[in-house]
Symmetry: C2
Subunit: 332 residues, 2 copies
């Protein structure tokens, strides 16, 4: 690896001049610029990022923290983040916390000692204190698919409540009489909003009470387990709004084993629109979120903060869309 000094020597100028040319800062005579560029070419020189980082107190890299990789949502968001990052000369550290707060803390610590320029967060283990600390260290943060209420942090969300309503209303529209919901964990904003959306539609119904509400984490296993409980508690159930697609897949599996025909005897609506939800038999009706775009938007916003182009705190609520109707009223 050749260094800036080698280039300077080769071109017969000082390192300062070379540095100016690399960074396009300061004035340099066109003539010397050409000479230097030729030298750079000749030595196939690339600036050392680590040294640049030390000098600039920044790294041109950002951290993207996700709670898991087994939900395909995250790889897809990550693609969005990376595409924008790469186009702007940034590297992405993809960090998987496996849902453990200690891992999150480890990453956060690591970020500091790496001059990380910014962080995109999606972890329910984040506390207000963490964000406060990050703010103190001047590290911009954007949350994606997750918010911490009352925190001054830009967040990229979708219309979870409206999505929940749409899903549930769709079940009503296709003729379901008894509609249950299997949602995510108690404290999670997304999960709760979606549940409220469900409640908005069914709370007036005479049959409705708490026993139509199931909860668990956003996993296939939850869907499978809770659906079975539900089938034995309420054999009359004929529609389920699942809090996400993984749950919906679990429900589908449970229905199959229970001998309930989908969608004829049991209609299911998921949430997310992950690729896998279209590959089941039958393909799942679901509320599609703009997953990839959430990633690109998050990174774009983060860049705005890092480069101080726009440091206002925003809360996005992106549109969602019902896709792949399994069944229409006509089928009945």
């Amino acid at each position: 690896m050749s260094t800036i000094r080698d280039v300077a020597k080769e071109a017969g100028v000082s390192v300062a001049t070379v540095s100016r040319i690399i960074n396009g800062k300061g004035k340099v005579k066109k003539e010397t610029e050409d000479i230097v560029k030729a030298a750079i070419e000749k030595l196939s020189y690339t600036p050392n990022k680590v040294a640049q980082g030390l000098s600039n107190q920044r790294s041109y890299s950002i951290g993207f923290v996700v709670p898991s990789m087994s939900n395909p949502m995250f790889p897809e968001i990550a693609r969005g983040v990376e595409d924008v990052a790469q186009a702007n000369g940034y590297q992405v550290f993809l960090c998987n916390t496996d849902g453990k707060r200690e891992k999150l803390l480890g990453y956060l610590e690591n970020f500091k000692s790496h001059y990380i320029d910014g962080i995109i967060l999606n972890s329910h283990n984040v506390h207000h204190d963490d964000l406060e600390q990050l703010k103190q260290h001047n590290v911009p943060v954007v949350m994606v698919d997750r918010v911490l209420e009352n925190s001054e942090t830009t967040s990229i969300m979708v219309q979870n409540r409206k999505g929940g309503q749409m899903a549930t209303q769709h079940l009503v529209d296709v003729g379901c009489q008894y509609i249950a919901h299997i949602g995510g964990l108690e404290g999670e904003y997304n999960a709760t909003q979606r549940m409220w959306g469900y409640c908005d539609i069914v709370s007036g119904k005479p049959w409705f009470d708490q026993t139509w509400l199931g909860r668990g984490d956003f996993s296939v296993d939850t869907g499978y387990r809770v659906a079975k409980e539900l089938f034995s508690r309420h054999p009359e159930v004929d529609g389920i709004f699942a809090g996400n697609d993984l749950i919906a897949i679990g429900v589908l599996k449970a229905a199959y084993e229970w001998g309930k025909k989908v969608p004829e005897e049991l209609a299911i609506v998921g949430f997310d629109g992950i690729e896998m939800s279209g590959l089941t038999l039958p393909p799942l009706t679901t509320i599609e979120q703009p997953i990839y775009e959430m990633g690109t938007l998050a990174m774009t916003e983060l860049l705005n903060h890092i480069e101080k182009k726009d440091v206002t705190v925003k809360r996005y609520e992106l549109d969602v869309k019902l896709i792949r109707e399994m069944r229409t009223k006509i089928d009945l």
Copy 2:
């Protein structure tokens, strides 16, 4: 952020002493060590990784290059890599090439200027020249789930050919008469080995010829598309060995639409054992690879090379296992 100098001042010693203590090198009196540790504690000091990197010409981070994130194999391998990395104080740069050589080259370039300590590669875009260059730069490389033939690089593979044989033999065992194979791309070692495994079993059969062989990339779409072609070309097909689970899922979908009952009329065997393959209806029979372990092993080997504990080039061929038989001979 406090620096090593701050700690030195606080403890009334020199920076060298602090450095020694941080790195556990050289001799220090137990007494001064305690004082320094107290100072470190008090200032909540963490060594600056960037500065360490510049000084040591290394970064304690490694790159893991994957061709895609939509095959759940990779997130799972990545988990294995990360767990071992983290346990040993290394950071992992997860890099997705999206199957594009230019992206791969970009990452490789980036690695150099980041003092990356080692690289785990899985990209069919890697050429011999790339490995040669890396070797010249003294960057250890381990390939996972992929090899470059005649290259002196440690690689972690599974028994692809044997797996192919097992899959195909299983189809024979459960009574299939006409067994097709839908495999991966021409140049891919894995795909080819699995295909040969298939050929090992069927090449003697009177009905067998090239028309029972389909190819495409390792995706659901390939499985779906090629299976349909196959159904119209050979309506008598009653067993398909898919080159990987994604293809198998595509086949399943095609079979469903074509009205072929699985597994009664068409038996399917996949390859990989990704979680998704167990969630289909019916769950797919498949050749399970130790995915997570491939990750841990790759990282362990890479560490051996980085830390020069063991620099011999090895070629692992891990065992595979047939799981989730859909159907047994008895069913017939």
